[in-house]
Symmetry: C2
Subunit: 281 residues, 2 copies
C-alpha cells in the first residue's frame, strides 16, 4: 500500500518546514493521532507555543512540543540536502509505519488561494482564516515542480489506484494538477476508484461543500465528479458513493462511471472494512 500525498498545504513557519498532510497520515497510521483535537499528536503539550504567544510571536498555527520535534527534524534534514521523500521515509520508519508514504513532489509546490481578502497560502486560508473567506481561484506556486519518480512508478505499477475522499479542490487538485499524474490515471482509468468526499449533501470534513458551491458545482457526488472531469479530464473509472447518495448512481452511470454504493463513513472498524472491500472489489 502506497500513499501519494499532497504537499500543497506545506508551510514554512518560524523557519520550520511543516508538512501537515504527511504528518497527519504518519501520526494516524502510527496510532499517535490526537483524537480529542482531531489533528496533531496524542499526549501533546504546548510549552513552546505558550511562550511564543507571550513573546508576541505568530501563534495562530498550533505546534505542540512533540509535533515540533518532527518539524525540527525535517527542517534540519532538508537543510542538509535530504528530500521530503527521504525525510518522510525516516519518520515513518521511526514510527513503525508500514504503508509507504510518498510526497507527490520533492520540489517547491504550494497551494495559493485567491480569496476575497487577496491571495494567501493554504494554512493562512485554512487555519488563520478558519476557511471562512470566499475563494475565487486556486493556483499553485511552483517552479516546474515534477512528480517524484517513486510516485509515478507506484501509479503505473499498482493493481488499483484509489482516490481518497479528500477535498477535491484543496487536496485532490494539488495532486491531479501534475500532467504526469493525470496521464497515469487516464491511462489506467478502469483501475481508478474514487470515494466521494460528499455524503448526504455535505463534506465529510472541512470546506469542500462550501467550495464546490463557490465554484458553481452541486454539493453531491455528481458535483465532485463534474468538477474533477472539468479540471482534470477522464481519469476515474469507478465512483464509490454512500448509501445516503444512492439517488446519484443513475446520473453517474449516465456520465460513464461504474458506481458502487456502500457505507463510506469510516466511523467503525466494520465500516472501514466494508469500504476497503468495496474499493478493492
Amino acid at each position: 500500500l502506497t500513499a501519494i500525498v499532497n504537499v500543497g498545504d506545506d508551510i514554512v513557519l518560524h523557519g520550520l518546514t511543516i508538512c501537515p498532510d504527511l504528518d497527519t497520515i504518519t501520526y494516524t497510521l502510527a496510532g499517535l493521532n490526537n483524537e480529542e483535537l482531531g489533528w496533531g499528536l496524542t499526549g501533546e503539550t504546548w510549552r513552546v507555543m505558550s511562550e511564543l504567544r507571550e513573546l508576541g510571536g505568530e501563534a495562530w498555527f498550533g505546534l505542540g512540543d512533540r509535533d515540533l520535534a518532527t518539524h525540527l527534524y525535517r527542517s534540519e534534514r532538508l537543510r542538509n540536502g535530504a528530500t521530503k521523500a527521504e525525510v518522510t521515509k525516516e519518520l515513518c520508519a521511526r514510527h513503525g509505519v508500514a504503508v509507504e508514504l510518498i510526497p507527490v513532489t520533492n520540489d517547491i509546490f504550494e497551494t495559493v488561494l485567491d480569496t476575497e481578502l487577496g491571495p494567501m497560502g493554504f494554512q493562512d486560508y485554512f487555519v488563520k482564516n478558519h476557511h471562512s473567506v470566499t475563494v475565487n481561484a486556486i493556483t499553485f506556486n511552483q517552479d516546474n515542480a515534477a512528480v517524484s519518480r517513486p510516485a509515478l512508478d507506484a501509479l503505473f505499477s499498482s493493481e488499483r489506484i484509489v482516490i481518497a475522499p479528500s477535498n477535491p479542490l484543496l487536496s485532490l487538485a494539488p495532486l491531479l494538477h501534475f500532467p504526469d499524474v493525470r496521464a497515469a490515471l487516464a491511462n489506467r482509468r478502469q483501475d481508478v476508484v474514487a470515494v466521494s468526499p460528499i455524503v448526504g449533501g455535505s463534506a465529510i470534513k472541512g470546506p469542500a461543500d462550501r467550495l464546490l458551491g463557490e465554484f458553481g458545482y452541486a454539493v453531491s457526488p455528481v458535483g465532485v465528479a463534474r468538477y474533477l472531469y472539468d479540471h482534470f479530464g477522464t481519469i476515474i473509472g469507478t465512483w464509490v458513493i454512500d448509501e445516503a447518495d444512492a439517488a446519484y448512481e443513475e446520473e453517474l452511470v449516465s456520465l460513464g462511471y461504474n458506481v458502487a454504493v456502500t457505507t463510506t463513513m469510516m466511523t467503525t472498524p466494520e465500516n472501514e472494512e466494508r469500504l476497503a472491500k468495496a474499493v478493492l472489489s
Copy 2:
C-alpha cells in the same frame, strides 16, 4: 548603557536562527538566566529536545522549550525581513531589558575554527566537541559584513568603551575583526578600558587559557594584551586586572597601558560594584 554583541557564535540549526550571545545577555539582564545550568532560561523544560532525540535528530545543541520560543520568534521575524537588531530590540522590550543590545552586524558573519578535525563552526567546536580539540586558526565566514550603524554610533558617542572579560580569540576577535570597530577604538584609545579575562593563570570561563597557549601567548593579562595588540593594533588605553595578577602591572605599564588593579571576579554584588567603579573611574 549599550552593549555591542558578538554574533559569530550564531548558528542555523533545525531551520532556526539561534543567537546564543544575544540571548544569554538578554536572559541574564532580565533575571531569567538558568543558574543551575549556567546557560539558558530558568524554569526550563525539555520536551521538544527529548522527542527530537527519540526521532534520531541532532540533539547535541540543547534547546529548552522556553528557549525554543525565542528562536521560533526570531526566525519568523528574520524571514519576514526584520534585522537581527530589530528582533533583539523586540525581545529585550518583551523581557523588560533596559540595556540596549546591538548585534555588531546584521549581516552574515560566522566564526569558523580550523581545528585538528578540520574546519567547523563555533557551536560545533564549543558544544559538540566540548572545546577540546586543537585550534590552528580562527577565521570568519562572511560576505562583506558591515558594522551596524547604531553600533558605530555608540562607539563614537559613548563616554567610555569597556571591553568585557570575554574570550579574546572567540568573543572579542569577532568584534575587533571589523576595521570600523578597530578604527573607532584606536581613535578613542584613552576611553577604552579592557577587563582581563585571565585571572590567576586561568580563564574566568571557557577555553581562553587553552587557546592563548595554542596560539603562542602567555596565559596572563600580558598575554591577552599582546594577542590583542598583535591582531588588532593599539586600541586599548587601560587594562583592569585582578589583584591576583598585580605582578603584571609593571609589564603592562611598560607596554604603554594604564593599569587598574582590583577584584575583577563578579562573584558578589559588592565585587560587581567595585569593578564597575574601577572601569568608570
